[in-house]
């Protein structure tokens, strides 16, 4: 557990210090949400109806921005090779780095979402549901994203490739996240079932992704 915590702490520290990545992601999130009403026109009913979807899709795109750097920073300076010779298995390294990405990117973006909801006339009753679905659903994005980041580690234009790989896999998360939030907003459906499915997707990703990431990294270092 000690190497896991050490790596998690280091990655969070690096994310704070090289703050550029999170700043860019948050700025991007704000901008996407802010310009959408300009394009759609001042129809408050329409905006509040599509608000959960917009907030989810925009968050997804913002979270993608920092994925390419996830393993790159350690590959460039040779840290990855030393991490691989540690007593901790590479799977644990992968889990620590994915968790660090979630804590340093997905959680701040999720916390920002309710404020952006104001711009879209999101129903106040839906705020807790929005926050719960984002926090509960984004682990899947970070962990599945880690697989794609590891697979594209040494390829040029890896960033674009990551988006192509991650987005299809995040469709289930997106569907159930929006479904659960809309259910609360309109009061027509139940919040429980889609939210449980959302959590299930996250849990499965958290378990499977480290194995896949470690395999991909071992291959990349050959």
């Amino acid at each position: 557990m000690r190497p896991f915590l050490a790596l998690l702490r280091r990655d969070l520290k690096l994310a704070m210090r090289d703050g550029g990545a999170l700043g860019t992601a948050m700025g991007f999130y704000l901008l996407v949400v802010a310009i959408l009403p300009l394009g759609l026109g001042p129809d408050l009913n329409l905006l509040s109806r599509i608000a959960p979807g917009i907030l989810w899709v925009a968050l997804l795109l913002s979270a993608l921005l920092s994925l390419p750097r996830m393993f790159e920073i350690d590959d460039e300076d040779g840290s990855l090779e030393v991490l691989a010779t540690g007593d901790a298995p590479l799977e644990l390294v992968a889990a620590a780095k994915s968790l660090a990405h979630w804590l340093s990117t997905a959680v701040p973006l999720s916390l920002m979402a309710p404020f952006l909801g104001l711009l879209l006339n999101l129903d106040l009753a839906a705020y807790p549901a929005l926050l719960a679905t984002l926090i509960g659903g984004t682990p899947a994005i970070s962990f599945i994203g880690a697989i794609c980041a590891a697979l594209t580690l040494r390829s040029r234009r890896g960033g674009l490739l990551i988006s192509l790989l991650v987005l299809p896999f995040s469709i289930p998360t997106l569907i159930f996240g929006v479904l659960a939030t809309t259910a609360v907003q309109t009061g027509t459906a139940e919040f429980g079932p889609p939210f449980m499915l959302l959590l299930a997707i996250s849990l499965v990703s958290v378990v499977i992704a480290p194995l896949a990431v470690a395999a991909a990294l071992r291959f990349q270092m050959q």
């Binding site: 050490a6 790596l7 280091r10 210090r17 090289d18 300076d77 040779g78 840290s79 090779e81 010779t85």
Partner: protein
């Protein structure tokens, strides 16, 4: 029983080409294996094979009298071309991270604080400076300081003398000598003569054979 790192008919391919094949050697504790040979002869590759980063195409590598629960790579300190140094963390933070990451339990940790490792490589006054401000040679020394953080029996050094000044080269020689006297093994790829007590040389040629 003596610890021994032995390779038997080791072969590594890169694409269609053998980097080397039929390579056998054995190094016992207290000995340094010096890898020499022209560029592209596979010195770095061999070191990465021992570290467990590259899987050999054929042959076997074993560590006798090692810890059965660990892989060969987990017995090794690997210091490659790049120092595994984070620019935005201070010199001390870099070392503290590697110490807590590499040490499995307190037995692995060597006595003395990180200061001792820094002191050995003359980095003590720089310990609170972000590593990004260090010169190439100082970064190199910081990478080498990792060797002294936790006890690992096998040291894998890839061109450790590159961009080191004469004084630092002397320090590295002394550190290496102490490691070998303490029953350690070292595998060093280098182009220059090394001044340690017990060493044997392995000359790697340029791989010319085509892989079937």
């Amino acid at each position: 029983m003596q610890m021994q790192l032995a390779a038997d008919e080791l072969a590594v391919t890169r694409g269609e080409r053998f980097v080397f094949s039929g390579l056998s050697f054995a190094v016992s504790e207290g000995e340094a294996l010096i890898l020499t040979g022209p560029n592209g002869s596979g010195k770095t590759t061999l070191i990465r094979v021992i570290a467990g980063l590259i899987r050999p195409a054929a042959g076997e590598l074993r560590l006798e009298a090692g810890d059965a629960e660990r892989t060969i790579g987990q017995h090794c300190h690997y210091v490659g071309h790049r120092g595994a140094v984070k620019s935005s963390m201070t010199v001390l933070e870099n070392l503290e991270f590697w110490r807590s990451f590499l040490a499995k339990d307190s037995i692995d940790r060597l006595p003395g604080r990180d200061g001792a490792a820094l002191d050995a490589f003359g980095l003590l006054e720089l310990s609170h400076i972000p590593a990004g401000y260090l010169s190439d040679g100082q970064k190199r020394r910081l990478g080498l300081a990792r060797l002294l953080l936790t006890r690992r029996r096998v040291w894998l050094l890839d061109e450790p003398y590159a961009s080191l000044d004469a004084a630092s080269q002397g320090i590295l020689d002394a550190v290496l000598d102490r490691h070998l006297r303490g029953g350690g093994i070292a595998v060093i790829a280098t182009h220059q003569p090394i001044d340690v007590s017990s060493q044997r040389e392995l000359q790697l040629g340029v791989g010319e054979a085509e892989a079937g």
